[in-house]
Symmetry: D2
Subunit: 287 residues, 4 copies
């Protein structure tokens, strides 16, 4: 058995007794071993969420997996996915002027830290703006945008997303606000990094807002993109300490470090099927 | 020389060259040694802030200190204070139902960790509500409050503050909103602990707001009280990680720990002359 | 159904496929619902660990629970426990001169934050040393100790532990080294708080060691007690930032805060069946 | 006046009254304004340390600065340096197989975040091992090393350091132990990043040691290099939380993030004259 044999199942359904028993029994019958499992019983919504990593042992019949899981899912009214862990997630990276998140994600991809396959980089600045960045053969798409061309530009992005088989769109400091239509289209498969500790400092220039307010910690927030700007379900947040002596420029500098690691964690959680939409919130199954 | 000989000078004035030289020279002439010094040149407001701890050596003439500092301060247009470090700060503690911050401050006082002298405890619940709390001989004042009696109750509080020689009023989870008049009266000498990571989740029930929003970190904020509710200059903040599985009750529990330590730090900074008002912000001189 | 109906099952056994299925199926058959579940497949030791919280629904027959779980456990060679969540854990608190952890645990107990029932306080200093601490009716045992009387003193402690039905012994800054025999007797049911970030600064006066070494963060460590001093399985650790200007006394002061919260978390994890011994390490199942 | 006019003075001497007054007076006389100042009175060693940032105003006579400071320093027996802030620090980067710290420092240099001028990269692996790294025109030196060639290789490194006018040598995960002679030669101007929370887990494979010990936090440490391996004065440390489920590979991955930011901060502190050797410890003057 190799790493390629591990798969991850995620599911959600209306909660009722017996779900775990049914899932565990089925995975056992199919000749697999549950190596990781997390569950969450959301008493607020009445829904049940589960993530299971499993791997084959003797008696494994791959052809039975999907049909039998589908049957079980139908019985419980489950939304579900199964992903082969060894297959990297196809990711489209969107970026504007600031490239620190892009460069960071590309580095993590190169050293094999993130199980992603970048299928394209879309920027609203020309390639020359990223002269120091080694795209490593990833297709680069320059899609400038103005108020007048926004609709066409977004249509072009969506086309690239579709043509490339993109599974996850990452707004790696992409400083354009997506239209409601586009946000809806990408619902649940688009992650943004916001350079503030949301819900504080929504909107523009959050580090300048933080400076003006005199906070003692600044942060960054990775969230699923929804049509409701800066209100998307939060996947990950982190902070760093600042002082009265820090200028807005210092905050921007310190913020880059926070943004990088928060976005990278969120992408990791997504690729490992740990981050799951739950209405206005995100479940993140950690070990 | 004993610890009692240390004094702390704080000052602020319009910035110009020569301030530090003048202060350092004067303290030297007076027969003292600067053992700690911090300064902040606020380029935004053009004001200069300084904190100096000094102790006498040979030639120290205590009677010269105040008149000569006053003369120097006049020359530079300084706002200034000098405090003897050994003298504890006279503190009035205000509390409502939740006593965790009160209990924590009293413990830190008992073991000599905080250089405070509690001159009174004011509560809008009767003493019986704190049956498990050992007030250690500190006068307890039960001052219930309703919309109709708020003005009189606040007048009574201010009277107690004045009569007791209170230097710092601590709102240790005192769940009443001060009137603008009272906030103004106590400006710069009243610290509140807010149970959220401001400016996120202003207003009531912040932990429930945090739960509803699905944040991944919760926090608390100690700030100077101003008439602008939840907008006072921030002295200290801290956070802890939470997960989707945390209920509002879990947040409240985790929050107690954050509130306790954030408020205790803010009180410490105040008593050590480290926290200084600077318009809408607070300077906090740390080592 | 009330909170009292929740129970927590923990188990470990040699890993093999089908364990989760068997457990989930059995709990379902017994008329219960799994509301929380965590598992860990320790590939190093080949052992499997699980924690399940379950509650009854229709068809629940309490009398079947223990016999049927015992039969299942026998089949898989499981070590297992079931605890009713509503029943507090019986805790014996041991303390020496410094009472900050004791006072903190008692406060958390009083406000209902920790599901413990303190069955006794054992100190090697007389009750007068804790004049400011409200024991709240908990039996206090003064058991002084010298090299010559150590064996008898420990025998007396073990007797009190046995007589009181103690489930967990907490060394709340108890500054005596337990004998190997006593450590073995209490194996898996005794937690200590060490005032350093282990494995750094083992042994005496860790804050002075930290000061001498010039570290930039200090910490504390809660661990299961074993005969191998300062080498027990670690349950929880935390740190705070310090600077070159902090004296050993500052470190001790900052350390008290870390020790308090680290020990309180470890006790919580134990009472919620989250902290499980795994050889030289501890598994801690968090949400 | 431009940024180029800011200078930073650092000094240390035996403590005595009047040092700050003398320095502040002299800087004022020279026509400069102190914009930042930090001091530390080390009561353990009896030495006084100071860092001052100053900028010219009217009457500034640059030619007087060095002679007059030298005269003052002689009077107090000071060790001192003055650096022009606008001039980047000349840095030699040493690296072995793992390039995450190198790549990170180069990125921070490119975006102008670190005031460094990389004068060379020295590696004990050939350039081909870093095919994905854009050296940006920085001279690359492949200096393989074996036990037999260590002396010559180190001599070559020291020659490159001298020829290039290197001010700071950064061991950016350079996995060779420097000889005592070389460590002494580079004393006070060589920073290493150690992949553990020192003093825990000295020596080889610290993440594997951390895994074996079962700690709940891992860290990294940037320190001045001394002949005493893993005992150099600590400049910066940081940690991240791990769990029982993290494998050694997970620790290595999480550790890369900690190493990167800890080393980058230490280099920043050095270039800003904030990190100052003080015997076995390092003073780090932060705002």
């Amino acid at each position: 058995m190799t790493a390629g044999d591990f798969r991850t199942l995620t599911l959600s359904c209306v909660n009722r007794p017996g779900i775990v028993a049914a899932i565990a029994q089925k995975l056992f019958e199919l000749g697999t071993n549950m190596t990781e499992a997390q569950q969450f019983d959301d008493t607020e919504s009445g829904r049940f969420f589960m993530r299971v990593v499993f791997s084959p042992f003797d008696g494994w019949e791959p052809s039975r997996l999907i049909p039998e899981m589908a049957a079980l899912a139908a019985e419980f009214g489950m939304t579900w996915t199964i992903k082969e862990n060894a297959r990297p997630t196809r990711v489209m990276l969107l970026v504007s002027k600031f490239d620190h998140c892009l460069v960071d994600l590309l580095y993590r991809w190169r050293v094999g830290e993130l199980a992603i396959e970048p299928v394209g980089i879309i920027a609203n600045h020309p390639a020359a703006a990223y002269a120091d960045v080694d795209f490593g053969g990833i297709p680069f798409h320059y899609l400038p945008v103005t108020a007048a061309t926004k609709a066409q530009q977004e249509a072009r992005i969506l086309q690239l997303v579709e043509d490339s088989g993109t599974e996850l769109v990452v707004l790696a400091r992409y400083m354009q606000i997506l239209s409601n239509e586009m946000a809806l289209q990408l619902s649940g498969r688009c992650i943004n990094i916001h350079h503030s500790f949301l819900p504080g400092f929504k909107g523009a220039r959050p580090y300048h807002q933080a400076y003006a307010r005199g906070v003692k910690l600044i942060g960054a927030t990775a969230h699923f993109v929804t049509h409701d700007l800066d209100e998307g379900p939060i996947i990950e947040q982190d902070v760093e300490r600042i002082s009265h002596a820090d200028t807005p420029e210092d905050l921007i500098r310190k913020g880059r470090d926070i943004e990088r690691r928060v976005l990278a964690r969120a992408v990791r959680y997504y690729t490992e099927q740990r981050a799951i939409l739950n209405g206005r919130k995100a479940i993140v199954f950690l070990d």
